[in-house]
């Protein structure tokens, strides 16, 4: 590269074969490295996800110590291993193996994006026992209070979700009301300044339970015989 005239010739001096060989070798090495790391981290990531789900389930169903996975399809419950379309629900049991709650995922449009949450449904009192926000992009300082504001979370310690007489829907739809206007057990007291985010949480639970509660109540006996370890013996 002593003179400028040699620069244009450079392209011709490198055979295409050499370029392909170099790129191919680099790509192969990269692939190998990625596969190695993927194989090594796969069980660790799966374990992390399991722990994360377990923690969330035990948080929304207070007192739970074991869980089993089920699939809630269009015509009822199926055990976790079967391949039918539907959402995964988590039955939670206490130390004696008795069913104390069912954790379900729900979501609704919030202020900026979909708010995703997990909530615990108690089939005995027909009420919601707790919620945990899984994913949200609500405004920090305002909407994001739905995840940790104690007064707001207190709404979901015994939120009424009774079925109607026919048993095909909720007797009273769960909905959010303006801050300080809560009168009935099925209403959610919104956070002042975060009404849209609060409404999203209430709507998500309402929509999910309108569909799930009748099916869960119908198939409750199947859930009561736990498939996990720790029976009555």
């Amino acid at each position: 590269m002593s003179d400028a005239a040699s620069t244009p010739n450079l392209a011709n001096n490198t055979p295409a074969f050499r370029m392909v060989r170099t790129l191919g070798a680099i790509a192969m090495l990269s692939g190998l490295l990625v596969v190695l790391v993927f194989q090594y981290t796969k069980p660790i990531i799966a374990e992390n996800q399991r722990v994360a789900i377990e923690q969330a389930v035990f948080q929304v169903v207070p007192g739970a110590s074991s869980r089993s996975d089920w699939i809630l399809g269009a015509d009822g419950l199926a055990s976790g291993g079967s391949h039918i379309a539907g959402q995964t629900v988590y039955a939670a049991y206490d130390e004696r193996g008795a069913l104390i709650g069912i954790a379900l995922a729900a979501g609704a449009q919030g202020y900026q994006d979909v708010v995703k949450l997990l909530y615990g449904y108690d089939p005995d009192c027909q009420c919601v026992r707790g919620i945990k926000i899984l994913k949200m992009t609500e405004t920090p300082g305002l909407g994001d209070k739905i995840a940790f504001d104690p007064a707001f979370l207190a709404n979901f310690e015994a939120l009424d979700a009774r079925l109607n007489a026919a048993g095909d829907a909720l007797a009273n739809p769960i909905h959010a009301v303006k801050h300080g206007k809560k009168q009935d057990a099925w209403q959610v007291d919104a956070i002042s300044g975060a009404t849209i985010s609060s409404v999203a949480v209430a709507n998500a639970i309402n929509r999910s339970l309108q569909h799930a509660a009748p099916l869960l109540q119908r198939d409750l006996t199947r859930l009561k015989a736990p498939t996990t370890t720790g029976g009555d013996d």
Binding site: L10, M19, I26, I45, A52, P140
Partner: protein
């Protein structure tokens, strides 16, 4: 003192320190602004992002320097991108394995390290021309400088925006958090103040230099 781009550099302390201060990738070269503004709303995110970027930077620069004589000039950018993307994928899986919570907090910005121009810039402007050990030291310095810059934004934004540091409350009870600081505009505010400081320091040094020269001539 002027360093010609094609000259092989001798290893010195300056090889490392340059990335921290004189050629700081964020405050001086203004590279990689996207993660700088996006993930610095808390100290923990800033640390994780800084370390992840440093790993990719050091690993890819080292590899590029190692095989720099084997890569034909025409396909060098493609080669760099493949190498960088590989290490980003490695980091992506590693962070998922370390903490899912952290992975969710950083979101898409881990994958976007591929497009971080600090890394491609180092590969093209430095690693492809310099020897292995100087590249290693220089990229470590650049990574440290990048991490330092993220931290200077992250700590200020978390302190003012949430009143906490690494999640622990440090502000007095009656402190009202400036929510704007953890929102996107806060990133621009804090970055602007830091850039102002760096520009002022540079100007002051330039003003002093002629005075010092004059003084040395007089004596």
């Amino acid at each position: 003192m002027a360093r010609l781009p094609n000259q092989t550099e001798q290893l010195s302390l300056d090889t490392f320190v340059r990335g921290l201060w004189e050629e700081n990738p964020v405050f001086v070269m203004l590279l990689g602004m996207c993660p700088v503004l996006a993930v610095t709303n808390s100290t923990m995110n800033a640390i994780a992002m800084g370390l992840a970027t440093t790993f990719v930077l050091v690993a890819s620069s080292t590899l590029v320097s190692l095989i720099r004589k084997l890569i034909p000039k025409q396909v060098r950018i493609a080669s760099y991108i493949v190498i960088i993307a590989t290490f980003v994928t490695v980091v992506d899986y590693a962070i998922q394995a370390i903490s899912l919570e952290l992975y969710n907090a950083l979101g898409a910005f881990i994958q976007l390290i591929v497009a971080n121009c600090v890394i491609l810039g180092r590969a093209e402007a430095y690693a492809s021309k310099q020897r292995l050990h100087t590249t290693l030291v220089n990229s470590l310095g650049m990574g440290a400088g990048f991490t330092l810059a993220l931290l200077s934004l992250g700590t200020v934004r978390e302190l003012l925006g949430s009143g906490t540091l690494l999640g622990y409350p440090v502000m007095p009870e009656n402190f009202e958090p400036w929510v704007v600081m953890i929102l996107p505009p806060g990133g621009f505010f804090v970055l602007g103040v830091w850039l102002l400081l760096f520009a002022w320091l540079k100007q002051r040094r330039e003003r002093r230099l002629p005075q010092q020269e004059a003084a040395s001539h007089a004596s």
